[in-house]
């Protein structure tokens, strides 16, 4: 009985971890390249959810069935555009100013996006039901006492697919190599002829896009969206990235799955514990292994 119970939670945890992974990857990539904790990253996730929401609703009202792949592209695009805008307007001007300024600005951007969406009359602060059935009909598979909905499978497959795609880009393309170079040594990369700002923009595009996709997947699987939906997942994804080693891509994936599974198991015992476990993990990591599981300590040059 216990064993089966845990299998269900394990599967749910993997689903949750997959979504956190998409968000955490954006966090970790941006941090790796500009050393900025982009507090607004969770809001790109939210924007992706709303973008796909409106597209599907629009389609449903007009009687079209918008192709699944198109909705995905739109949610990814929405996340990317938001990220690029944030970078261009708020982060780029502060690139060479003290870090705290960029941090506080990121906070401001995050709040601005959340409150703007909350205040806009056609979006509003309250929850909206995501039309997941109109998008992809749900199917439930049962294995003994375990139920798996097709949404879970979609979440995991899409996430893993995108992660593989990202890893391919980072490891085997020239752009990816440029990204790795910039994150290791900005000045050296510049001297090698790499256009830093272009690489940074691309990083935001990719990171934001992944977050946008996560937004769509979340809308489908946990069909309630609201302007502040990015706050907690964003924070937890960030903690997951720290757990894995901030700036480290495989670390973000590892940390996210650990986070997703821990949170699911913790919530099943006690909902308060479920909320607190993310912070508990953060405090443990920062106290005992601040560089994360897969990260390296970077000593400050004296």
């Amino acid at each position: 009985m216990e064993k089966i119970f845990n299998l269900q939670q394990l599967i749910n945890g993997i689903q949750l971890g997959s979504i956190y992974a998409l968000i955490a990857l954006g966090y970790t990539m941006v941090y790796g390249i500009v050393r900025l904790i982009n507090f607004a990253h969770g809001d790109f996730f939210m924007i992706g959810a709303y973008a796909s929401y409106f597209v599907i609703i629009f389609g449903t009202l007009r009687g079209y069935h918008i192709p699944v792949i198109l909705v995905f592209i739109i949610s990814i695009a929405a996340g990317s555009i938001a990220a690029v805008l944030a970078n261009k307007i708020a982060y780029k001007p502060l690139r060479y100013k003290p870090r705290i300024s960029a941090l506080i600005t990121a906070l401001g951007v995050s709040m601005f996006i959340e409150y703007l969406f909350s205040a806009l009359p056609f979006i509003g602060p309250s929850y909206r039901a995501f039309p997941n059935e109109q998008f992809i009909k749900s199917k439930i598979f049962e294995f003994g006492n375990t139920t798996i909905s097709n949404y879970i499978i979609i979440d995991v497959l899409v996430s893993v697919g995108l992660m593989i795609f990202l890893t391919y880009i980072v490891k085997y393309t020239r752009i990816g190599m440029a990204m790795r170079a910039v994150s290791q040594d900005k000045d050296a990369a510049k001297l090698m002829g790499i256009d830093i700002e272009k690489i940074i923009t691309i990083t935001f595009i990719v990171g934001g896009g992944l977050a946008g996709a996560a937004g769509l997947l979340t809308g489908v699987s946990y069909p309630r969206i609201f302007p502040y939906m990015g706050v907690l997942p964003g924070l937890k994804a960030f903690i997951a990235a720290v757990l894995g080693g901030i700036g480290n891509i495989p670390g973000a994936m590892l940390g996210s799955y650990i986070m997703g599974i821990s949170e699911t198991f913790a919530t099943s015992y006690n909902s308060l514990l479920g909320e607190g476990i993310a912070f508990a993990i953060l405090i443990l990591v920062l106290l005992f292994r601040p560089q994360g599981l897969l990260g390296e300590t970077v000593a400050e040059k004296v």
């Binding site: 050393r35 904790i37 506080i104 600005t105 906070l107 909350s118 205040a119 009359p121 601040p290």
Partner: protein, 332 residues
């Protein structure tokens, strides 16, 4: 005479006090509503200056400041409302009120100390996250304690905070922090902000001083919290969440990180602006019947303001400068 400038400052304060008090007595210009905003501004002065000590002077990344205020508010509030059940009708109760305030502030300072000790060795961005988390944890804990009202808040707090009390405590707080800043300890704080490694290598025990800054900042935040809840007669978890801290952060940045004078101006300016904004939005609401302009728009304006300050006037109004009258004479 050595203290000539300080005497001048206190004189200005006295004049300000008498002016406001008299005008309010006869309800000319300074009606009770305006007086309330002034009271609020003064409390924010304490909050802003105390946060400035940690972030502006010592260069740390603390963004959970309202958590400290919450500790001060709830502890002093519980003492006066639930345990001692006192009210201002008997002037002798003011002694107990001050004791309650002090206890709340000490508790808050202690929490600052306990929080600072393990976390101050973290790098900036991480410290920010941890202090942010701390603020939220405090709020969540308070929300779950029924004894202090939980999600309904602590109600019926006696109104001990009047203009006189708040004004005197604010002036004292500003002078105390000013005196700390303009001393060898203040220089130690600033050196940590400038270059922590160099500071340690000229003999400053940077860990000790970072914790000091946190503790003192938390103490005064707790004091402000105590004053606030006895002014509004309520303490509610939502007042002390991240939103509240952002408000104070904007004031610190707008005034200038590392300027006490700037913090004072910003505290007054932004509190009045906030009220003005409320009227503006209500007025807009009346002329555009279809679109309701709710409280969220205020927050949109604040966050935009924060971004604009960060982008275009990072150093705020005063940068690191002070009004001459606040600079002790021995500095020159």
């Amino acid at each position: 005479m050595r203290l000539k400038r300080d005497i001048k400052f206190l004189l200005y304060c006295l004049i300000f006090y008498i002016a406001i008090f008299s005008l309010n007595r006869y309800q000319i210009i300074i009606n009770d509503y305006i007086l309330n905003i002034i009271n609020l501004s003064l409390v924010y002065v304490i909050l802003t200056v105390s946060l400035n000590l940690i972030n502006g002077f010592t260069g740390q990344f603390s963004i959970g400041h309202m958590g400290f205020a919450a500790v001060g508010a709830y502890i002093s509030g519980v003492l006066t409302t639930i345990i001692w059940k006192i009210n201002p009708s008997n002037p002798l109760n003011y002694f107990l009120f001050f004791i309650a305030l002090i206890i709340g502030s000490i508790a808050s300072g202690l929490i600052g100390f306990l929080l600072g000790l393990p976390t101050l060795r973290l790098r900036g961005d991480y410290l920010a996250i941890v202090t942010l988390g701390f603020g939220e944890i405090i709020r969540t804990i308070i929300n779950n304690i029924d004894y202090v009202g939980g999600p309904r808040g602590l109600l019926g707090i006696p109104k001990f905070s009047n203009f006189t009390v708040i004004f005197i405590i604010t002036v004292m707080s500003v002078l105390i922090i000013r005196n700390i800043v303009f001393s060898t300890h203040g220089r130690a704080f600033k050196s940590i902000r400038e270059d922590q490694v160099a500071s340690e290598l000229v003999g400053v025990n940077t860990t000790k001083y970072k914790v000091y800054a946190f503790t003192i900042g938390a103490f005064f935040a707790g004091l402000a919290g105590g004053l606030l809840c006895h002014l509004l007669q309520i303490a509610h978890p939502t007042q002390y969440g991240f939103l509240g801290t952002i408000f104070v952060l904007i004031m610190v940045y707008a005034g200038g990180m590392g300027s006490i004078s700037g913090s004072i101006i910003a505290a007054f300016g932004l509190t009045f602006l906030s009220e003005g904004l409320r009227f503006l939005l209500r007025w807009i609401d009346n002329i555009t019947p279809t679109i309701t302009v709710g409280i969220e728009w205020r927050m949109v304006v604040y966050s935009a303001l924060l971004i604009i300050i960060m982008l275009y006037r990072n150093e705020g109004l005063m940068g690191k400068r002070e009004f001459k009258i606040l600079i002790p004479e021995e500095e020159e």
